[in-house]
Every structure is written in structure tokens, then in C-alpha cells.
Symmetry: C2
Subunit: 343 residues, 2 copies
């Protein structure tokens, strides 16, 4: 019996999560879901972002399903660092998984790319690099101010995420891994990444590998997104590349993501990449597709690949049947998807 | 009499630089040009990348015109760090200027963007941040390895490049500056950038400002590149954003750049963003447009805005007159451009 912590969050979060849960209840009956009211609302009500007691409770779950947190009324960065990043670090979610597909029925801003042609996944490191929070300011606010940010990379951290990328590539038909870094400038961290990549690659002789500098990869993701299969990269580069990937596949509206602790020693977290979208919240018009696709990632992670496949296919069929630009109702999409997976 | 150091470099470098010089000779007659054979060829012949004596000679010039350096036969990173980055740092070229235009006659990979609609410039910091080279490795090659990269940012360095961006925006019709950083994660450096930006912005009440996280900016540069006018950002973010900008405006083939010391205390360097393209070198088919546009940036920097405008317009007319996909001859394009600017 899977125990899922649900953080519906703010804005459209609760609306899309409700649909995701409908689908989850159908494909994995008997799932035990507990709701946690983290996000902007709780922060305003109590001043708390993530109390230790809640963190301890979350830790007792198999996975976390998150809608969206954030609201313009909350100081920028507060929920990001106090909640999202805190969970990634506390629960050692070192694989930040972001699949990118150009679904049939949807369209890309790119002129020469057809639905079905883009299908890659970015395996972004989630616990190291410039996200470590190492750095400081001196002589703050004066003409002499100095500010530093330190990227921390360990062989331990780099190797485990690269291994995850290769393991995923081995399960995909194209069997290709692209390492993205900036080895010509960031020689210290780049050296560690490149050497570790080469060593792991040697264990997978039938997987094709390539290396690209992050600037080149950012360009090719626009001009030739078809070329990627599995992309592995560091925390900050992954942040940037996955947003480019979302852009070329039609926007973050359809992107799902998982912050994963592959060994399941801690709960992993699954969430649509889109935000709380306060502008459309409460109107029942948010697209729950990305939240439902996040459920598919959750199912896959918890060892239900067949259920994951059914959810993904249901979303694919739903998108393929849409008329571009036609209005949608959140509830109706959720009902259709729940019906599709039960069929 | 302007004294220009010419580093034609490798591959197609000499071919495109020859055309750039033709144009320069017409618009700024009497320019004194001295050639320096830096690049892969010199490295192979002598083992030298940038001898101190050459650096001292380069310092005596008003500007450097560079074609392209690099060849697959040279260890990766060697010329980048030993020559390009070294010149940026030695000559305090703190403004890395990269205009992006979607020229009439050219096409973008983006479906919904028309020529003329994209016209922005990225002002990238060129002497600080993660390019400082601060960092190291410990326990290298073992399971205990740690690698660090440190981003160094000073108020001095941040303020001067932000001031440059505002000064440029004040001379452009749309008068808008976008700061790109990642203040929600890189709070130390992000704080310095954001505070400094706000202070300089206060001196320019009639310039519109906005802030975007680098991941959001990477997405919007694909989905709404029309929205940008002047973008100011740090060294690494600028590296990435300018490649996305090149991608959406039809590839790096047409992109020009300047590494600028605005006070002209040291020579600035102007170069096409494209590389040495060994695959097409020696065939006389490389497009010299980006090299010639780099001459326009050089002219502007040396105080000849009218000549710069003529060169830019000549390139614009040349591109507008092209049939997409039609073959071109490097020499012929250079002759046409030289004739156009002399008219
Ligand atoms: C909200 C922010 C801290 C986060 C990140 O930078 O990782 C977001 O951009 C993401 O990609 O999940
Ligand atoms: C070659 C490399 C060191 C350089 C950089 O990273 O700045 C290049 O990518 C650029 O943008 O000019």
C-alpha cells in the first residue's frame, strides 16, 4: 500500500492535484494519501514554511505529490529555498528527472519539428553544485562589496547521477547519453564530471555517448532537439536546459518532473514544472496534464511501470484528441483521464 | 589613424577576416593593420599560445579584429583559455557585447517570428563570475574527490557592466533593460547584482527595467525573443543566453561580438561568434557577414558610429537580397559589401 504525501500548494496547485489523485486512485487503488497544507497560504497563516515536525512526517511516506507552491505575496525565494530546495536536499533527491516530449496534438514554437520527434529526458543532479548554498558577501552594500557562490561537486555525487543516467539510457531504445558541462572554462568541476562520465561509460559499451558544452547544448536544444535521448548535467545547467526543453516542446504547461532518491531511502517528489499561475487559479481551466504525467513518473519510481505506461498513454491520447486553442475544463480532463486509465 | 591588430586565426578565420578588412579599408581609410599569427597553426609550430611579447604588442593597438581560433588537433580548452579568455582578462574587456537580430532575408527556427522582430543586445560581464578560474580539486581521481568552482563578483565589476547596459539602452529606441540572474538560488551574488541593478536603474527613470531568472529567460528567449532590448547578465549566464539568442536568430553564422573595454584603456576585441569551421575551410564558401558585422561593432567602439551604421546597413541589404539556401562565395560577398559601403 503506497503512502503518498500530497502537497497541493497554491493557486492552480489544488485544482490539478485533484485530477492527478483521481487518476492515481484508479491505477493504484488503495493508495493512502495524506494532505499537507504547505505553501503560501500556510506561510501567511503561521509564518512557517516547513516545520521540522512536518518534515519528519513527510519522511514517513513513499512519495510526495506536489501541485505548485508560490504566490506573488510571498517574498521571492522563500518557498523555493525553504520548501522545494530543502526537500531536495533533506531527502537526498539527487536525480532531478525531466522528460521532454513533443506530444502529438501539441505544437512547438520550432518550425521544423514535428510531434513525436522530440523525446528526451534530462537527468539533472539535484543536491550539489551551485545549489549547495556555499558563498557569501563581504563589505555588503559598499563599493568594496564582494559576493561569492561556490559550486561543490563530489565524485560521490557526480558518479551516482551519471550512473542513473546510463541505467535509464539502457532502458530506452536509442541508448544514448549526452554529458553537458563547460569543461573548457570550469576545468575543476568539468574535469571531475568528464572523467567520471568516461569511467561509467566504459561499463556500457553499447551506449552511445557525446559531450557538449552548455552553451552549445543550449543552442542545439533549439536547433536540433531531436538529437537528444538522455542528457545528464549538473544542477544549474539542468535548471536552464530543462526550461529550454520545455520551451521547445510547447511550454512548461505539459512538463512533468521528479526529484528522485533512486534507492528509495527517502521519499521522492513529483510535480508539474508549471507554477501556481495565480492569474487563472480558481476558474477550473488549468490543464492537469503535467500533474497527471507527474503521477506517471511517481508510479514508475514506486515500481509500477505498467501503471505508469497506462497513465502516460492516456495523457498522450487526450492531447492528441485536442483542438489547439480550444478551452478546457480541469475537472473534465481529469475525469476523461481517470476513465481512460480504468478502461 | 586607427591601429588594428588582426588575428585571422585558423580555418575559415583568414577567409572571413580578409573580407572584413576590405570593408574596413573602405569605411576607415588609412587604418593601420598588423597581422598576428596566433591560433592553432602557431601553437603547432612553436608550442606557444600567447607569448608575453605578443601580448605587449597587442596592447599597443586600438582594437583587435579576430577571425576564429581553434582546430580539432589542439587540446580542448587550450586556445580558449590561453588566448581568448586571457585577452579578455588582460585587457579588462568587461563588456562582452552580443547583438542579436533576425535580419530580413534570413529565417529563424521559430515558427512565429518574422524578420525584423528580434533586435536585442546582450551585455555580458566578461571578467568575473565563474570565469575567474577560482576553484580546485582534492583527492583527484579517487572516490573521495571534491571539485569546486567559485564565482567571484565585485560591486566594482558588476556596477560597471550594468552602467554600460543602461547607457546602451538609453541610446536605443525601446529603452529597456532586463537583468538576468538566479537570485532565488544564488542569493549572495544575486543579491549584489539585484541591488546594484536597482541603484543604477534609479538614475535612469525613463528606462524600463525587468528581472528574470536565468531559467525563465532561457525559455522566453525561445518563446518571446521579441520582448528583449538590452539584456545584462553575468559571465556564464551570458555565455548561455547568447548562444540561445544566436539559435533563434538563425544560428551563430551571422552573430558578431565585441569584448570591450569601454574606457579604451586597453584594446577591445571584435570577432564573429562562429568558430574556425575546419570542414569548410579553404573552399571560399564561408559567409563573412558575421566578421563584417564585427567590424561595425569595432567602428562604433572607436567612435565612428556613422561608419558603423553604413557597414551594418550594407550587411542588412546583402542578407535581404539573398535567396535562402543559395551558395555564396566569400570573396564575392566581401567585394559586394566593400562596394556597398563605398557608395
Ligand atoms: C524554484 C527554483 C528554486 C527551482 C530550481 O532552480 O531548481 C526551479 O527553477 C526548478 O527548476 O525546479
Ligand atoms: C570559447 C569559450 C571559452 C567562450 C566562452 O565561454 O566565453 C565562448 O563560448 C564564447 O562565448 O565566447
Amino acid at each position: 500500500m503506497a503512502r503518498i504525501a500530497v502537497v497541493a500548494g497554491d493557486g492552480i496547485g489544488p485544482e490539478v492535484v485533484a485530477q492527478a489523485r483521481k487518476v492515481l486512485d484508479v491505477v493504484l487503488p488503495g493508495t493512502e494519501a495524506t494532505e499537507y497544507d504547505l505553501g503560501a497560504a500556510r506561510y501567511h497563516a503561521t509564518g512557517e514554511v516547513l516545520p521540522d515536525s512536518v518534515l519528519a512526517e513527510l519522511a514517513q511516506h513513499d512519495a510526495i505529490l506536489l501541485g505548485a507552491v508560490g504566490d506573488p505575496s510571498v517574498p521571492p525565494g522563500l518557498l523555493e529555498r525553504g520548501l522545494l530546495l530543502k526537500l531536495r536536499f533533506e531527502f537526498d533527491q539527487y536525480v532531478n528527472l525531466r522528460p521532454s516530449r513533443l506530444w502529438p496534438g501539441t505544437s512547438s514554437p520550432l518550425a521544423n519539428v514535428k510531434p513525436g520527434e522530440i523525446d528526451f529526458v534530462v537527468v539533472r543532479e539535484g543536491t550539489e553544485g551551485l545549489y549547495a548554498g556555499a558563498g557569501g558577501n563581504m563589505h555588503t552594500g559598499t563599493a568594496a562589496e564582494v559576493a561569492t557562490e561556490e559550486s561543490l561537486n563530489t565524485r560521490y555525487g557526480v558518479e551516482r547521477v551519471i550512473r542513473d543516467a546510463f541505467a535509464r539510457a539502457a532502458r530506452r531504445p536509442r541508448r544514448k547519453v549526452t554529458l553537458v558541462h563547460k569543461t573548457n572554462v570550469l576545468t575543476h568541476a568539468g574535469g571531475l564530471w568528464a572523467r567520471t562520465f568516461a569511467e561509467v561509460a566504459a561499463e556500457y559499451p553499447d551506449i552511445t555517448t557525446e559531450y557538449q558544452h552548455v552553451d552549445a547544448a543550449s543552442m542545439f536544444m533549439v536547433t536540433q532537439p531531436q538529437r537528444y535521448d538522455v542528457v545528464v548535467t549538473d544542477n544549474l545547467f539542468g535548471d536552464i536546459l530543462t526550461d529550454i526543453a520545455a520551451a521547445v516542446t510547447g511550454g512548461i504547461g505539459l512538463a512533468a518532473s521528479g526529484c528522485i532518491n533512486p534507492e528509495r531511502r527517502h521519499p521522492s517528489m513529483f510535480e508539474p514544472v508549471h507554477g501556481s499561475a495565480p492569474d487563472i487559479a480558481g476558474r477550473g481551466v488549468a490543464d492537469p496534464a503535467a500533474a497527471v504525467l507527474s503521477v506517471a513518473l511517481l508510479l514508475d519510481h514506486l515500481g509500477h511501470p505498467e501503471a505508469a505506461r497506462r497513465v502516460t498513454e492516456a495523457v498522450g491520447a487526450e492531447l492528441a484528441g485536442r483542438t489547439p486553442g480550444a478551452p478546457l475544463r480541469t475537472e473534465e480532463v481529469g475525469d476523461r483521464l481517470a476513465a481512460a486509465v480504468s478502461a
